[in-house]
Amino acid sequence: MTASVKKSLTAFTLAALLTAPLAACSSDNSTAPESNPTTAATDTTAATDTSTDSTNNDAANAPSTAGAVVFAAASLSEVFPLIASDVDYSFDGSSGLVDQLKGGAPADVFASADKANMDKAVEAGVIDGDPVMFATNYLVLVTPADNPAGVTGFDSSLDGKRLVVCAAEVPCGAATNRLAEAQNVTLRPVSEESSVTDVLGKVTSGEADAGIVYVTDATRAGKDVTTIDIAGAQDDPNTYWLAKVTGAPHPDAADAFIAAITGPGAKTLSTFGFGPAE
C-alpha cells in the first residue's frame, strides 16, 4: 500500500519536473531580445525618442491609448513602447499569444508577426472586426561580423557552411523555405531554430557561419553581424497584422492604439527596419 502510494507520488513529481522547463520556455522568447542590447539598437532608440515625442504632442487631441492591454509579437518589443508608452504590453511568439487569447486572456489588441497566426486568431473567434496590415519585414542573410566562412550570398557559397535557419513551423522558417524554392537554392542547415531570436543568437555568438533572419533583427544586431541582401526577398515580404480582441475590456484605448500604430507610428517602425504596409 505505502509502496504504491510512494511510487505514484514519485511519478507526479517527475511529471512536474518534466513540464516545468517547457512552461518556462514560452516566456523566454519575450525576454531574449531585451537581453541582447547592441550599440546600434540603442542609437536608433535615442534618435527616435525625440521624433515620437513630437508626434505624441501633435496627436494630443486624439483619444488616449492609456490602459490598453496589447499582446504583441516579440519582434515588436522595442518599437511598440516608443510609439505608445502608456500601454500594458505582453510580448511573446505570435502562436503563443494566440494560445493565450484562446485561453481567455484579457487583451484589447493583438499584433501578429504574420498572417497565418492572425488567421488562426480570427478562426478561433477572438478577433473583433477586420485585422489591418501595419508593417512588412523581409529576410536577409547575416554572418558574424568578420564573416569567417567567407559567405558571399544566398548561393553555393553556403555549401558546407554552418547555416542556421528558422524551422518551417514558425513564420520566418516558412518564409525562408518559400524564398529558397523561388531562388532554386537547396539549403542544408545545421539547425532549424524555433525562433528568429535563436537564429540571430547562433550567428552573433559565432557558433554558426550564417543565418537567415528578418532585416529588423539584422538592424537590431547592428555591428555584431554582416548583412547580405537576398535577391527576391523584398518581393515576398512577411506581413504584420493588428486587430482588436473580441470583448476588449478597454475598447476605446484599443481603437486609439491601432490608430497610433497605423498613423504616426509608421515613421518609428521604419527606423527599426520595418517596411510600410502594402
Binding site: 511510487k7 517527475l14 518534466l18 517547457l22 523566454d28 539547425s191
Partner: protein
C-alpha cells in the same frame, strides 16, 4: 505505523490536487485519435529515439561522475570541498537558457575551451554530443544532491568498521558504500534521467535543433506547438509515459532485497555481496 499528524492529510490533498489537476486537464485535451499517426511520423520517432539515446548516455555519464563526486563532498572534511557542494547546486537554479549560454561561452566555437577545440578541428555545437553535454550539465546536480544527502545521513560507521577490518578504500566503496547508498543512487538516477528527458532550454541554446541530430522530444513538442498545440500535448503524453516507465523500473531496482543495506547492518559483515 502511521507516525504523522492527521492534519498533514489536508496539505497532502491540496498538494496532490495542485500537481494532478493540470496534468489531468492536459490528458483531457489530448486528441487521442491522432496519437497513433503522430507516433508513426518520422519526426516523432526521430525525436523519441534521440531523446532515449541521449538520456541514457547522459545517465551513464551522471553515474560515472556523480557517485564519486557525491561521495567526496559527503565525506571530505576539506573546506574548499564544502564550497563545491554549493557550486554543484548552481545548475539547478540557473534558468535553462542561461545554462545553455554558459555552455556556449565555455565550449562554443569562440568559447573559453571551445576555441582551442575548434583549432584542433573539434566542433561540439550542433552535434548530438552537445545535447548530451547540455543534459549532463543540468541533470548531474540532481543525483549529486540527493546522493550526498543520503550518504551524509547514513553516516560513515560501516565504512570505518570495514576499513578497520583491513578493507582497502576501493573495496570499502564497492562493498559498503555503494550497497548502502543503492536506493539513493537509484532514485537520484531516476531524477537525473527525468531532468535530462525534459531538458529544453540549454539544448536549444547550446546544441540547436535539427531532426535526428539535436531535436529531442521537448524541442519537437515546442516546435509542434507552433502549428498545433493539441498535437504538442499528445506528444507530451509520450514524454510522460517514458518518464513513468523509467521511474517504475528504478523503483523496482532500488527495492530489490539483494541491493539493500540491512543485511550489512544485521551481521556487520561484508560478505553478503
Amino acid at each position: 505505523m502511521n507516525h504523522f499528524p492527521r492534519w498533514a492529510w489536508a496539505p497532502f490533498a491540496v498538494g496532490i490536487a495542485f500537481l494532478a489537476v493540470p496534468i489531468a486537464a492536459m490528458f483531457a485535451r489530448v486528441p487521442w485519435s491522432q496519437l497513433p499517426a503522430l507516433l508513426a511520423s518520422d519526426r516523432s520517432r526521430d525525436a523519441l529515439r534521440l531523446s532515449l539515446v541521449t538520456c541514457f548516455s547522459t545517465t551513464i555519464l551522471v553515474l560515472v561522475l556523480g557517485v564519486p563526486l557525491a561521495l567526496v563532498i559527503a565525506r571530505s572534511s576539506l573546506r574548499w570541498v564544502r564550497w563545491m557542494r554549493t557550486l554543484v547546486t548552481v545548475p539547478m537554479v540557473l534558468p535553462p537558457v542561461v545554462a545553455g549560454l554558459a555552455l556556449l561561452v565555455a565550449l562554443g566555437r569562440r568559447g573559453l575551451i571551445g576555441s582551442h577545440l575548434s583549432a584542433w578541428g573539434i566542433d561540439i555545437g550542433f552535434t548530438t554530443t552537445a545535447v548530451v553535454i547540455a543534459q549532463t550539465f543540468v541533470a548531474l546536480p540532481y543525483l549529486v544532491v540527493s546522493l550526498e544527502g543520503a550518504l551524509r545521513s547514513a553516516g560513515a560507521r560501516y565504512e570505518a568498521v570495514a576499513a578497520n577490518l583491513g578493507a582497502s578504500p576501493s573495496r570499502v566503496f564497492w562493498h559498503v558504500t555503494v550497497p548502502i547508498a543503492a536506493p539513493a543512487i537509484a532514485s537520484g538516477t531516476a531524477l537525473s534521467f527525468a531532468r535530462a528527458l525534459g531538458e529544453f532550454g540549454a539544448t536549444l541554446t547550446f546544441a540547436g535543433s535539427l531532426q535526428g541530430t539535436t531535436r529531442t522530444l521537448p524541442l519537437e513538442i515546442y516546435l509542434l506547438r507552433e502549428s498545433d498545440s493539441d498535437l504538442a500535448l499528445a506528444l507530451s503524453v509520450v514524454l510522460i509515459a517514458v518518464a513513468i516507465i523509467i521511474v517504475a523500473i528504478s523503483t523496482k531496482l532500488s527495492s530489490r532485497p539483494s541491493l539493500r543495506a540491512p543485511s550489512i547492518a544485521s551481521d556487520g559483515g561484508l560478505t553478503h555481496v
